[in-house]
Symmetry: C2
Subunit: 184 residues, 2 copies
């Protein structure tokens, strides 16, 4: 079966890794999780509490990375998924990951990104002239990356499917799977 | 679209509520979450840590219950999902919930249960003579309930789909959706 890559790391949002991971396995894809190193990753829970003006963070699930970024052959995958959380903020400085993501854009393959995930595609210049959504607090970052920001559950622009955060998973994955079935 | 009920409460396992909830929404079902009261529920993260012989528990996601058990009309739903975590241990003593679950069994509708969820169907005598799986530490409880325990990712016995725990979600939901498409 076709293979899909998830790129993430410590402090990724638990549900934003686990929902697409389990969903794509359920669909019959092979799914590899790549991270800075091949190790047990520690994800976080981003949620809301009364009286707290932004999201809160708690320790979340742990899960093994299948591959280090340096071991990834992007040509082996039909698509890439970029979860959110705090991981994308530091991962965008990883030169190996930037190379991987550029390959997916250059080869015109489906890309799914959610929440803070678009910080990564912004960092490689992949959002120039595109319509995207993202965690709404990132609207300025999306504009700085040359994208048009839309505050909606999912924005599909060509082969790029963006969503705001984990409550949008049903819409995000419905759109991404539609794209995968027709375009990969 | 057809409606599906999830029955759960505080200390349910986060992923075991959120994966089936979001997955069934993605599929186009209406999904209601029922709990002892209509309030913001607090789920937990059950996971593994090196050196700890059983699962660990951390605070997880919060999510609103749509309905109190006392408000549920089981006739309005085509199926029921029973997540795990620590919730089923105390929920099985709730007479309203027991009435709801009995209705689903009496009407021969699909039931999906995972991890500690089978403690609930055991409590209403629903497992007598059935083949089930569950969190493996519950093998004795399943035998006491008159069931045959199998340690596998998913066990389908008629309209009852059981799984061990959240790493089995892909198999669990694949089997449950197959059943829903043909039987409800």
């Amino acid at each position: 079966m076709a293979k899909i890559l998830i790129v993430t790391g410590d402090a990724a949002e638990s549900l934003e890794v686990m929902y697409p991971y389990q969903r794509l396995l359920e669909e019959g894809y092979e799914v590899d999780i790549a991270a800075p190193a091949r190790k047990q990753l520690r994800f976080v829970v981003h949620d809301f509490e009364p009286g707290f003006d932004t999201y809160t963070e708690k320790p979340g699930y742990t899960w093994p990375a299948d591959l280090a970024f340096s071991e990834v052959d992007p040509g082996a995958y039909v698509a890439v998924v970029i979860p959110g959380g705090r991981a994308p903020e530091y991962l965008r400085n990883d030169p190996e990951l930037r190379k991987i993501l550029k390959s997916f854009f250059d080869a015109d393959k489906p890309v799914a990104q959610i929440c803070h995930g678009p910080l990564l595609t912004a960092a490689i210049g992949g959002l120039e002239g595109r319509r995207v959504t993202a965690y709404p607090a990132l609207e300025l970052d999306m504009q700085a990356a040359g994208a048009t920001f839309q505050d909606s559950a999912a924005v599909v622009d060509g082969l790029l499917v963006s969503s705001r955060a984990w409550p949008d998973h049903p819409t995000w994955m419905r759109e991404f799977l539609k794209l995968l079935r027709t375009k990969s």
